[in-house]
């Protein structure tokens, strides 16, 4: 295949799927047998610490469903859709090889590490394996990540609402659907299956309605640009949502979105197979628009979720590990969970490169580094849905835009809720008692400040996105360092972890340095300061990892039998 020759998208989809499936069949098996040595005879925390709340042995497929829907959201759509500006091939290779050799191993490894440590989270594990400083470091990184996730996603959503005004009604109507679903389940006690079906149907009815009645804001609303106005509304909404009781809104919203993820992924791939569009974008874009940063290292932080993402480790160790029925399930839940997200990222790559008629059309959309992105996913994916399923172009675009908005918005309201806890905890350490409303307001002000500083008014586009990816990779690096320390203590082969570890940390530092120059040049002092903090955190992760690994190499070896002993000590009877 000549580079630049047109490629059919089903072929690319099949090659990508085949790579990930082969990775699951062979590489994950190798990791299970020779690296992690999963041992189902060691009881998991779900059994030894069973409490009916956090620790509940859960069916492997159901747990995979949670894990996958918790980790996959807007990020694996936005990242690849931005990164195809360098051509489809680099993004494709990073997503597929990243999923197989980085993300799958990282997610399964985080699950394994946590399961062997009473289901404790990565934060606690960084305290245990890296030291007290490691724990503080984790808190710093997670704080930065939460901070940026809210700002980045607010920008993504406001861009979508301005770019696809037909998505406005379903976006806000979905909140109503979620509120009714919550009432139906907890107040009226209706069966979940029917509520789910009605909820999804209602959501799609809203999409059709929204498609008929686009809501276009005037250029300025209350003295703000349309994009700024949406950001403001979004933060107010997310603030309100985050303080409501979770059963009312957040829980049914997460659930409906989870179902929507499967529906959306299904229709996207079916359309690609039926429509068989040709990829018009170049394999490697030799004519990137002016101002596009160099692919190395930016590609590797622009696509974080979908190739490797530290956030997965938080989910794996925070909830999934406490519910793992037996250790061997970690392969399906962790590794295949990453494959699920890889498929979403691959779908985004195809939508953003094959959904255009000619190369000129594509270049028009990707006219600058901050252009294209999720808008291209909606436009291109819409065209593919139109060709594949025969849905009208505008309705198809509305479906995809709503899907992306809902993913991002759910992450945002949960993000604000989590950050409120962080603020309250931090205030408590300083000896101040902060109520939930004050803490939420603090979070909203900081988030909005960053969102506007990052160009939420439409001026700067998505400048914050690579910074968000860098922090996400940093967290992945920290998790990989913990896995490496455990493996070194057990005197196992550490190369499959070490190579990704070195790679993501190098790329994170490199990207942070490159962005320093960019922020300085554009005189964006807020993001420059944030970048400096991230760079310091990155160097700190490297230093701590090296110290911890060196210590683990020389410490007396531990065996799997030690893990068994710690588990038994923790029998509930002893409490």
């Amino acid at each position: 295949m000549k580079i630049g020759a047109p490629v059919s998208s089903p072929l690319l989809a099949l090659i990508g799927i085949a790579m990930m499936v082969l990775g699951y069949l062979f590489y994950s098996k190798f990791l299970v047998k020779h690296i992690f040595k999963l041992d189902s005879s060691i009881p998991t925390p779900a059994h030894t610490r069973k409490d009916g709340i956090d620790y509940v042995p859960t069916n492997m497929y159901v747990l995979w469903g949670h894990h996958f829907t918790s980790v996959a959201g807007a990020a694996p759509i936005v990242g690849p859709a931005v990164a195809v500006i360098w051509g489809w091939l680099p993004a494709f290779l990073w997503v597929t090889l990243g999923t197989v050799f980085f993300a799958g191993m990282h997610d399964m490894g985080a699950l394994w590490a946590s399961v062997r440590n009473k289901g404790h989270s990565i934060g606690t594990l960084s305290g245990r394996y890296i030291g007290n400083r490691g724990r503080n470091l984790f808190l710093v990184v997670i704080f930065l990540l939460l901070l940026m996730v809210n700002a980045a996603f607010a920008v993504v959503i406001s861009k979508l609402l301005v770019g696809t005004p037909t998505a406005v009604i379903p976006t806000w109507g979905a909140i109503l659907v979620a509120l009714v679903v919550g009432q139906a389940i907890y107040r009226w006690k209706l069966p979940l299956v029917w509520v789910s079906i009605i909820g999804v149907v209602a959501l799609y009815a809203l999409i059709i309605l929204g498609d008929q009645f686009p809501v276009v804001l005037p250029e300025t609303v209350m003295g703000l640009s349309a994009a700024s106005f949406w950001v403001l509304v979004l933060f107010v909404y997310a603030g309100v949502a985050s303080v409501l009781p979770v059963w009312m809104l957040l829980q049914p919203r997460d659930y409906i979105n989870g179902l929507q993820l499967f529906v959306g992924l299904g229709i996207l791939y079916i359309s690609v197979l039926i429509a068989s569009p040709t990829i018009v974008a170049p394999a490697i874009n030799t004519a990137v628009p002016d101002g596009t940063p160099s692919m190395l290292p930016l590609l590797f932080v622009t696509i974080a979720c979908g190739a490797i993402s530290g956030f997965h480790g938080v989910v794996a160790s925070g909830t999934s590990a406490k519910q793992l029925n037996k250790e061997s399930d970690a392969r399906f839940v962790g590794y295949f969970g990453a494959v699920g997200e890889g498929l979403l990222a691959l779908g985004a790559i195809i939508a953003a490169t094959a959904g255009f008629k000619t190369l000129a059309d594509w270049e028009n959309v990707y006219s600058a580094f901050n252009q294209g992105g999720v808008g291209a996913f909606v436009e291109g994916g819409g065209a593919i849905l139109n060709a594949g399923l025969g849905l009208p172009v505008s309705l198809s675009a509305t479906i995809l835009a709503t899907m992306a908005v809902l993913f991002a918005a759910t992450t945002m309201d949960t993000g604000i809720r989590l950050q409120r806890f962080v603020v309250q905890e931090a205030a408590e350490i300083m000896g101040i008692k902060v109520g939930k409303f004050v803490a939420t307001i603090v979070v909203l002000i900081v988030g909005m400040g960053l969102a506007f500083g990052a160009g939420a008014d439409g001026s700067g586009g998505m400048v914050i996105w690579p910074l968000f990816g860098t922090t996400n990779q940093l967290l992945a690096g920290l998790t990989l360092a913990i896995i490496a320390v455990i493996l070194l203590q057990k005197r196992r082969n550490v190369v499959p972890v070490l190579i990704p570890l070195v790679f993501v940390l190098l790329m994170s530092v490199y990207a942070a340095v490159v962005q320093l120059g960019a922020f300085y040049a554009t005189q964006n002092w807020l993001l420059l300061a944030l970048d400096i903090i991230i760079l310091i955190a990155a160097l700190w992760v490297i230093v701590e990892s090296v110290i911890a690994m060196n210590k683990a190499r020389t410490a007396p070896p531990t065996s799997d039998e030690d893990d068994r002993v710690t588990e038994l000590e923790d029998e509930p009877a002893a409490r």
């Binding site: 509940v56 069916n59 159901v62 469903g65 949670h66 299956v193 979770v246 059963w247 997460d254 659930y255």
Partner: protein, 89 residues
């Protein structure tokens, strides 16, 4: 619709419920604990020096409160019961 246990439909339905409930179980447990704590405070109001108009009724609940009270004072960082007459441990 009635579900016969063991059928594929029942398993699917149970899986779906788990998919709905599990991610928020901890938040619910925490909210319930807060409410329980408040309830316990009402029952024990008198011994804490707060006049309780319904102590005639709530005194009956004291034995039920023993276990919860024990959990509460250990959670609050007190190794032994702070109330002389309520010596749960």
């Amino acid at each position: 619709m009635t579900e016969r246990p063991g059928t594929a439909w029942a398993r699917f339905s149970a899986g779906l419920r788990e998919f709905y409930a599990a991610p928020y179980r901890r938040a619910f447990a925490r909210a319930q604990r807060d409410e329980d704590d408040l309830f316990m405070m009402i029952v024990l109001a008198e011994s804490l020096g707060v006049p309780n108009p319904v102590s005639y009724y709530t005194v009956e609940l004291l034995p039920v409160m023993y276990d919860r009270f024990h959990d509460w004072h250990t959670r609050m960082g007190m190794e032994h019961s702070p109330l002389d007459y309520l010596s749960c441990c």
